[in-house]
């Protein structure tokens, strides 16, 4: 039975990746959205002038971009299951519901990370001067990205499953998702800030915020995982 669950997990993940490579629906729209956000940021900051140290606001700005970008991607991730009624065929198969959750979660996480990793260099290229590097090693930023994206995909997979069945699904996901994500978002911004700005206490600060991220991930993933069976079967 375990062998079958693994085969099912791979099948759903592979199907999502193949379809994404073919249509590039999620990654393109998310990437474009990230770039457009940067243009908007440029406008928003244009009057602040040279006196503004962009590094102070950058951690916040990238997470604003990423949270709205992930909304876009998460919304897409269930639309193709729903529109052709494929979700029914999926549920009809002898498949444990958590397998569906984990494969969808993994796919969403993957796509989100790809876009984040691609857009981050563009972001720093456009906004940071050459001498304004990241104070701490880059892997710390990578760790925040991974930690926060796990939480975003976990809760997002559950909420996208809900919102795809509601009227006005796009706005619904945002209404449910953004407030739930607040604690994670706050911690992610804190950790990113500590990594970018540096300074003597930054390591302690960074790990403090990362502990929040980790705690959120564990709690939310467990709850989302437990609730998924009910939600997808409804």
């Amino acid at each position: 039975m375990d062998g079958l669950a693994w085969r099912q997990f791979k099948a759903i993940l592979r199907k999502d990746i193949v379809m994404e490579l073919r249509t590039r629906e999620m990654v393109t729209s998310m990437g474009l959205y990230a770039i457009l956000t940067m243009v908007v940021y440029q406008v928003a900051l244009s009057e602040a002038g040279a006196s503004l140290d962009v590094r102070l606001v950058m951690p916040g700005l990238i997470w604003v971009a990423f949270i709205f970008m992930s909304l876009l991607g998460l919304n897409r991730s269930f639309v193709h299951e729903k529109d052709q009624g494929c979700i029914e065929a999926l549920l009809l198969a002898p498949i444990d519901r958590p397998v569906i959750f984990f494969s969808k979660f993994t796919g969403n996480l993957l796509f989100l990370l790809v876009v984040e990793v691609l857009s981050l260099p563009v972001f720093s290229f456009l906004f940071l001067q050459e001498q304004q590097g990241i104070a701490n090693p880059v892997w710390m930023v990578g760790l925040v990205l991974l930690g926060a994206s796990i939480g975003i995909s976990g809760v997002g997979t559950l909420l996208a499953t809900i919102s795809v069945n509601t009227s006005g699904r796009d706005i619904m996901l945002a209404v449910l998702f953004v407030p739930l994500m607040y604690p994670l978002l706050r911690a992610a911004v804190g950790a990113t800030f500590a990594a970018v700005i540096g300074g003597p206490a930054s390591a302690a600060l960074f790990w403090g915020w990362m502990a929040w991220v980790a705690a959120f991930d564990v709690i939310m993933l467990l709850v989302a995982f437990a609730l998924y069976e009910f939600v997808i079967g409804a």
């Binding site: 209404v175 407030p179 739930l180 709850v223 989302a224 609730l227 009910f230 939600v231 409804a234």
Partner: protein, 230 residues
């Protein structure tokens, strides 16, 4: 039918007790003073603001609790209970927000301040509102109930965060129920506060039961109409 008198007794009792607490707050509990000796009259808001806030957390717990019960049993009554509990939560949340805003205006000189307690409580308000937005956009009864239960459980996770945040991180919001010497309440103040709290919880229970009874009557009416129609 038996629940109805209990709800009404609770309503009357809660009304009486909170009214008593109201008079105690202004006539008996000593006024606090600022360090420079001026009287801090705005502190009186605390006697109702905090009980209302605590009540909102407590009632919100029942949203999650009945959400779990619903998912376990798929019994529609638990969905109704969870929804009514969330309605009462929304009621208390709005009152907390309104009284809190008035207090911060006096005390901090601003209507709103993005500090941890206010921010997390604001998030909780959004979640409670989101719960109803979600309910309104699902057609099917059972789907609506299931989604609302799931979201109610997720949303409740924010309540303890909001409750404990003033103890975890630096915040300018006063920590009242810290216990020990840091709470700094003189006995008459503490007693007044506790009485207001008890009365408020009774009112919360009465509100919940009254709304639940309304829903039950509604259901009975529907059933009667269906029995006639068939």
């Amino acid at each position: 039918m038996k629940r109805r008198p209990i709800a009404e007794v609770m309503l009357a009792l809660g009304g009486l007790i909170t009214t008593a607490a109201f008079f105690m707050a202004f006539l008996w509990a000593p006024a606090t003073v600022y360090p420079d000796g001026r009287i801090n009259f705005s502190q009186k808001i605390f006697y109702f603001h905090v009980p209302v806030a605590e009540a909102s957390f407590l009632v919100f717990f029942f949203t999650a609790f009945y959400g779990v019960r619903f998912l376990m049993t798929k019994d529609r009554r638990y969905d109704v209970m969870a929804r009514v509990a969330t309605e009462v939560t929304l009621f208390f949340v709005l009152l907390t927000m309104a009284t809190g805003i008035l207090w911060t205006r006096v005390e901090w000189g601003v209507w709103w301040q993005w500090e941890p307690r206010l921010t997390t409580y604001f998030i909780m308000t959004l979640l409670v509102i989101g719960y109803f937005v979600l309910r309104n956009s699902v057609e099917d009864d059972e789907k609506r109930a299931t989604y609302a239960a799931a979201f109610g459980i997720l949303a409740f996770i924010d309540a303890p965060i909001s409750f404990f945040i003033t103890r975890w991180v630096e915040s300018i919001h006063p920590v009242v129920l810290a216990g020990g010497e840091s709470s700094g309440l003189e006995p008459p103040m503490l007693i007044t506060f506790i009485i207001a709290q008890v009365g408020m919880l009774m009112l919360g229970y009465a509100f919940y039961q009254m709304r639940l009874r309304e829903e039950e009557l509604h259901e009975r009416l529907e059933a009667l109409k269906i029995s006639i129609g068939g």
